[in-house]
């Protein structure tokens, strides 16, 4: 093989591989070649530099958009900080409360998955959501809550959502993963019933015309009240993995015990992603499969996904996602995954 200029080296796949350090054989081969042909070193050097610089440039171009928005956010945060410092006393009081709150938190560690206010970033801020007759619909509410509407379900959000509480009306079947907010109870009205939660996950099956409601609680706590005249009466309080079926006829709620698997199975019946950024996809998958996913390389975070998964195991979903961004994943334990 004749190498007369750096161009010749650039054309050689094995040489390029050795510059990119893809495999050891190529690296060793060219090292030996270099020692045997010192006159070619300038050309090899030129070619190698170009390859390395090109690689760095491409990386930089990919990082740039993210870096620019990080910088913008930083500037905004600094502005906000300055206005808060004007209220010295409020800041001190807040600090004291925070310390107290963290002490409480230390004594009552949350078993739940980390709260998902991050999903709020992807919310569409509408007041009416409806799933088609043949397809589910997922909703990211702007408080960070996540809702899966089964086929034909309808959700109407109260205009005062987020002020002193979080109210909405449901008809049909839906699953709710409620973002923690103790001050603003999350209330789902279905016909004569209202299901109230704070930071929990539960599924409702509402048949408002027949006045039937089935509540299945995955985690946390909910209360169910029924309206009689102008008053609300507490009908049921549920603990995790409990379910209750309420109907017009029976006065006593029928309760059942459920398993994580049953919830997961229902949730993952149909998982649809439509132009969803990777970050959103991972946050939602954490809810669907009750796991924790960490992403080591945030450069793939802006990639968007389109796809539908039906009854797929977490394993195959992770495989598909990682394949499309050229990453790998592994289970640290049964509930923790990292993508690297």
């Amino acid at each position: 093989m004749e190498f007369k200029s750096s161009d010749d080296f650039l054309k050689n796949q094995s040489f390029v591989n050795s510059c990119l350090e893809i495999n050891q054989e190529d690296v060793d081969f060219w090292k030996e070649y270099a020692s045997k042909n010192p006159d070619k070193l300038p050309y090899m050097g030129e070619a190698a530099e170009l390859i390395k610089d090109l690689q760095l440039l491409l990386i930089a171009e990919k990082l740039k958009p993210g870096a620019v928005s990080t910088l913008r956010e930083h500037l905004k945060a600094r502005e906000r900080k300055h206005t808060i410092y004007l209220w010295k006393y409020v800041a001190v009081a807040a600090a004291v409360l925070f310390i107290l709150a963290s002490l409480v938190f230390l004594f009552y560690p949350s078993k739940n998955l980390p709260g998902k206010p991050e999903l709020a970033k992807f919310s569409t801020h509408k007041y009416f959501y409806e799933a088609g007759t043949n397809e589910r619909k997922t909703v990211n509410l702007w408080d960070g809550s996540f809702v899966i509407l089964d086929k034909g379900a309808r959700l109407t959000i109260d205009p005062a959502f987020g002020q002193s509480d979080r109210k909405m009306q449901l008809s049909g079947i839906a699953y709710f993963k409620v973002a923690k907010d103790k001050i603003r109870p999350f209330k789902v009205y279905t016909g004569k019933y209202v299901t109230t939660a704070v930071g929990t996950a539960f599924k409702l099956q509402a048949n408002n015309t027949l006045h039937k409601l089935k509540v299945e609680l995955e985690e946390g706590k909910v209360t169910v009240e029924k309206k009689r005249g102008n008053l609300w009466h507490l009908v049921a309080t549920l603990n995790p993995k409990e379910s209750v079926t309420l109907g017009e006829e029976s006065h006593l709620p029928i309760s059942q015990k459920l398993s994580d698997r049953e919830f997961s199975k229902w949730k993952t019946q149909e998982v649809i992603f439509e132009n969803a950024p990777m970050k959103e996809v991972l946050l939602q998958l954490e809810i669907y499969y009750n796991v924790n996913i960490s992403l080591q390389d945030t450069t793939v975070a802006p990639r968007t996904f389109n796809g539908t998964f039906r009854h797929d195991s977490l394993q195959s979903v992770m495989e598909m996602i990682c394949f499309s961004v050229n990453k790998q994943f592994k289970f640290i334990d049964s509930n923790h995954i990292i993508i690297y």
């Binding site: 650039l10 893809i22 090109l54 491409l58 990386i59 620019v68 050229n326």
Partner: protein
């Protein structure tokens, strides 16, 4: 909206506190500084990325104290380089050399070298935009994702011959845009 403001203009309004000019400067120099940072440190992408962010925040905070009448590119590049090495030594727990003093002092020779070198880099950046989308994609797959020709051909559902041609033409175009004689990529 101001289009094509010169460096000097951006710098002046940045020093006066204009956030948009600041962001534009960041966008303009990001890739170049990242590449240089990684070349100087021999890799360390994450460290360079973080330092680049911190460096720009640092100059934002000191904007009122900076000299307005300077060669922006050279000034920023040499300042960044100094800051980067200082932080790197700290990171590696080596004694940071005492010559990291005030920002306003810059060496003449350093400025000249920075000028020369950034010329070449701008050409490469510009050359990249001259590639056709297909050429650009193949170049990215090859150099960014380290895929082999076969893998690229499979991914794009085409032949190795086509992939090779696209890649070769892309690289040739890049090379023809850069001055071949003065390949002063090394600092």
């Amino acid at each position: 909206m101001n289009v094509n403001r010169t460096d000097a203009e951006l710098w002046i309004s940045f020093c006066a506190g204009d956030e948009e000019s600041f962001i534009k400067l960041y966008e303009q120099y990001y890739s170049m500084f990242f590449v240089w940072g990684c070349k100087w440190l021999g890799g360390e992408h994450d460290f360079v990325k973080d330092q680049l962010h911190d460096f720009f925040i640092y100059i934002w905070e000191r904007r009122a104290k900076l000299s307005v009448d300077i060669n922006v590119k050279a000034y920023l590049l040499t300042s960044f380089r100094r800051q980067l090495f200082y932080q790197w030594k700290k990171h590696k727990k080596i004694e940071p050399s005492s010559e990291f003093t005030d920002f306003s002092e810059t060496d003449e020779s350093e400025l000249l070298q920075a000028e020369l070198v950034t010329e070449q880099f701008s050409k490469l950046e510009k050359a990249l935009t001259l590639l056709s989308p297909a050429q650009r994609e193949v170049v990215e797959l090859r150099f960014l994702q380290n895929k082999s020709l076969q893998e690229i051909a499979d991914l794009k559902n085409t032949t190795i011959r086509t992939t090779y041609n696209l890649l070769h033409r892309g690289i040739s175009k890049l090379r023809s845009e850069i001055n071949e004689k003065k390949f002063l990529w090394l600092w």
